[in-house]
């Protein structure tokens, strides 16, 4: 299987920089997801991998071969588009078999067997003679996947293949897609704007914004240890407090919570390169407790040593589900603050509460059956807080 290496990729359209120095590698058989808001460059990146767009500069390699002068038809990529781009003047079987006009099927099977095999794989056996226009959206999506996979591509490229489907179907199909991908072991690059989808299906995720990669990591790393404010706010809900370090205590051994939290490198130049997390070099030592002043309040957070310098401006991130509603009048704990409940949304398995604190809006996610009202006391564990360079 194929490893994809991208180095220093830039793409300009006139004055706009669609891609601005993008570098990353996708390991063999990996399910790699590019996620970001619309216009962040993720689709341009995918089209550049496919060979539909030529980069302004930089290099793409499949294994060790440079793709610079290789046209799309010779790259061995399978592409599934958001609208599937099925050939409406051909039957389902002709669509799936189209790539076999130019390459023999793998494993020495006949072309029609290969088509049947693929239709079987995507659960559309016997639908070959239909016109794609007669199929439902989900079926069309699976035809597109079968068509892309039929010539056994080295790389599978998926451009928002789920976004035209309704929510329930989307969730079912993404599970199917992930299982087909791991069964075939084809190196896959998946583009989506849906961060939930990205976390659900990927081996690794790259979060993009304005033509740059903000962070690359496993879904857990991206969620648990966002490298930048953008990642912290784009992936999942987050409460981000702007503050200043006022006190640093050296690492205390009695902290036992293993939240998997870790600290990012504070060097802004490393934003578009891989974060530390996926290199597997977790800082095991040097953890400190810092006290951060946010407006009038002071919060304590456990963090790595890099930020631990008094006076430094930092961002303190606390996930809504890590906020607790403090009941009773326990002793003055750390990280307590009183906020006024504004509105709340019942989500089924939990309730999302919007609160106001010091002219900042706060999100709380609670599974308590009673919706909080009035002014309530909130708190969080120092180990659940995440500190970013401000």
């Amino acid at each position: 299987m194929t490893r994809i290496t991208v180095e220093g990729l830039k793409k300009r359209y006139g004055a706009t920089r669609a891609l601005d120095w993008v570098s990353f590698a996708v390991e063999e058989e990996d399910f790699f997801t590019l996620v970001g808001p619309s216009g962040c460059g993720k689709t341009t990146l995918l089209r550049t991998l496919a060979g539909f767009e030529a980069p302004t500069s930089g290099e793409i390699r499949f294994d060790d071969a440079s793709m610079a002068s290789v046209p799309p038809e010779d790259r061995g990529v399978g592409v599934v588009f958001q609208n599937y781009a099925l050939f409406g003047h051909m039957s389902v079987a002709e669509n799936v078999g189209y790539g076999l006009r130019f390459a023999d099927p793998p494993g020495g099977v006949g072309k029609s067997e290969r088509v049947a095999e693929l239709l079987d794989l995507v659960d559309l056996a016997g639908m070959g003679e239909r016109s794609p226009t007669e199929l439902s959206g989900g079926q069309q999506q699976r035809v597109a996947l079968a068509r892309a996979l039929a010539p056994a591509p080295r790389v599978l490229l998926l451009d928002e293949p789920m976004s035209a489907l309704d929510a329930g179907l989307r969730e079912r199909l993404r599970v199917e897609l992930a299982s087909i991908q791991s069964e075939l072991g084809v190196t896959t690059v998946y583009v989506t704007h849906d961060q939930e989808e990205a976390l659900a299906v990927s081996d690794r995720v790259a979060v993009m914004s304005e033509g740059r990669i903000e962070q690359i990591g496993t879904p857990r790393e991206i969620y648990g240890s966002p490298a930048t404010r953008f990642v912290a706010e784009f992936v999942g809900d987050n409460n981000v407090f702007e503050g200043r370090v006022v006190e640093v205590e050296s690492g205390s051994g009695d902290e036992t919570e293993g939240t998997g939290e870790e600290q990012e490198s504070g060097d802004p130049g490393s934003k578009s390169t891989e974060s530390r997390g996926q290199n597997g070099t977790r800082p095991t030592d040097g953890r400190t407790i810092v006290t951060i002043e946010v407006g009038e309040a002071r919060f304590r957070a456990r963090t790595a040593a890099e930020h631990a310098e008094a006076g430094e401006r930092v961002l303190l991130c606390v996930r809504p589900e890590d906020l607790r509603v403090e009941t009773g009048t326990k002793e003055e704990g750390t990280n307590r603050f009183r906020a006024r409940v504004g509105s709340s949304e019942f989500l089924g398995e939990a309730t999302r509460v919007h609160l106001d604190w010091e002219e900042q809006s706060i999100l709380l996610r609670t599974t308590a059956s009673a919706t909080p009202e009035g002014t309530i006391e909130l708190g969080f564990d120092p180990a659940d807080a995440h500190v970013l360079e401000g």
Partner: protein, 588 residues
Amino acid sequence: MRGQLEDGLPWALGLGAAALLALVFYYPVATVLIEAVSVAGRVTVEPIVGILTDPFYVGWLARAITDPGTFGRALLEAPIATLTGSLGLIGFTAYQALLSAIACVALGVPGAYVLARYEFPGREVIRSLTILPFVMPSIMVAIGFVSMFGESGTLNQVLRALGLGEIEVLFTLPIVILAHAFYNAPLVTRVTAAAWESIDARRIESARSLGASPQRAFRDVVVPQLLPAIATGAVLAYIFSFMSFAIVLALGGLGFATIEVWIYNQVTQLEYASAAALATIETSISLGLTYLYLRYEASQEGIGEGGGGGRPLNRKPLFGSLTPTRIAVGGYLLVVGVVFVGPIASMIVASLTNDAGFTLANYDFLLSRQRTAYSFQVQPLDAILNSLLFAAGSLVLSVPIGTFVAIVSTRRFRGRKVIDALAMAPIAVSGVVVGLGLLRGLVFGVEVWGYRITVTGTVAIIAAHAVAAYPFVVRNLTPLLGGLDRRLTESARSLGASPARAFLDISLPLVWGGVLAGAAFAVAISIGEFDSTVILATGTESYTMPVAVERYLGRRLGPATAMGCVLLGVTSGAFLVVERFGDRGGLL
């Protein structure tokens, strides 16, 4: 941009199309322009200045330039009489085009109102029919008008039967203008109705909810969205009427000559130098008008587009209790009957009757070889066979050229607009000028490296027809090709298809309807082409049906109407193909 253009195929095709165009359009037209500014091998503006200061051509403008004092006094004493009294040939051409454009708006806009706001059986059909005049041979329209409004035409028969006497309208300005309205008012109707139907009812509802009366909402919401469309239709009608030839020649005669007719007249008098000078002036004017039109059209893009979707206005039933509007609509439909249905119906009836009643003699005449005819007389069967030959030839030329131009013009690259403009210029150059250029440039021969190359009239006519026809192929294909989802061909490419293969397997089948529609247009244009053919066929055996019709028109109305019906049949067939395949693009 390598991403879009890495494939050399479109370039190769484009270059081939460009070479052909250069040979059969740009080179011949250039010879006309060069002839206009050179006398005995010397570059001079004399012929053009001569025309622009000659009262025969420019009317009072010449007097204003040569004798401003006298002219100024005359202008002060009787301004209107001075300005309209002597327009000159060019002034008259502009004047009749202006009147024609006004007539087109007057006749076309109510039609748009009826089509957009009323529901009635056959509305869709009538809407489709508004494209028909576009493919109708102008000479056929002329026969229809002679059959309807001529001395013994339908109108006079009706008037006589009613004891109201006769009217003589042939060879008057009103009949020319009415014929131009027949030709171009449906165009005004078409674009205005489209604009009217695209008005989002919610905009009017918003205005009403904010306190506007129905009349006020019409003025503030509907009118601003209609005006650009009406203006577009009027400008196109003006340009087409300005360049009109066959209708003016057949219905106005030399007494109401326009620039086009006079160029033709000069060519038949072998006065090529003044024909060339006049052609240069006309081409400058028509290119200028077309340029202004395209600028205007571009500036209007996006106006009237609401925030997506939009709900069209409800249609009222056309038939129902008599309201003042319904009575007005009824009156309008009566006018439509006289102007549009009348000429066609009269032509058909005239072709099937003679003094003794029903007869097929006129059609019989078309198919029989006239053994008794003198050699200089027009043989109807030859005309039909020639027309078919030329149609086949121009089809074979214009469909590939048009397809290649369409492919190139849907690619994104620097300089595309220039290529587009060069490729579509033939629309803005009159057939008479193209015919003159081909005659002077290719039929009379061109010297290349000591060899004299000449082409026959047949080849020149096919070239002229292809030049007239291929822009219609481009117009039919470009929206389809442009609307094709590029991800379709990209999918094919990623599956291993080369660019050429992806075009043949994916793009071409999906735009095939457009190719067919373009081909139908090409045939209709070729069969009906008169302007350049009449110049190239003068004194040769290469006359076509329209040329034959023009020659019969003065003497033998019966055969002319029969041939007009044949033209009508071909045109209608082409129209059906266009209707069936024209607007259908990608399936997904």
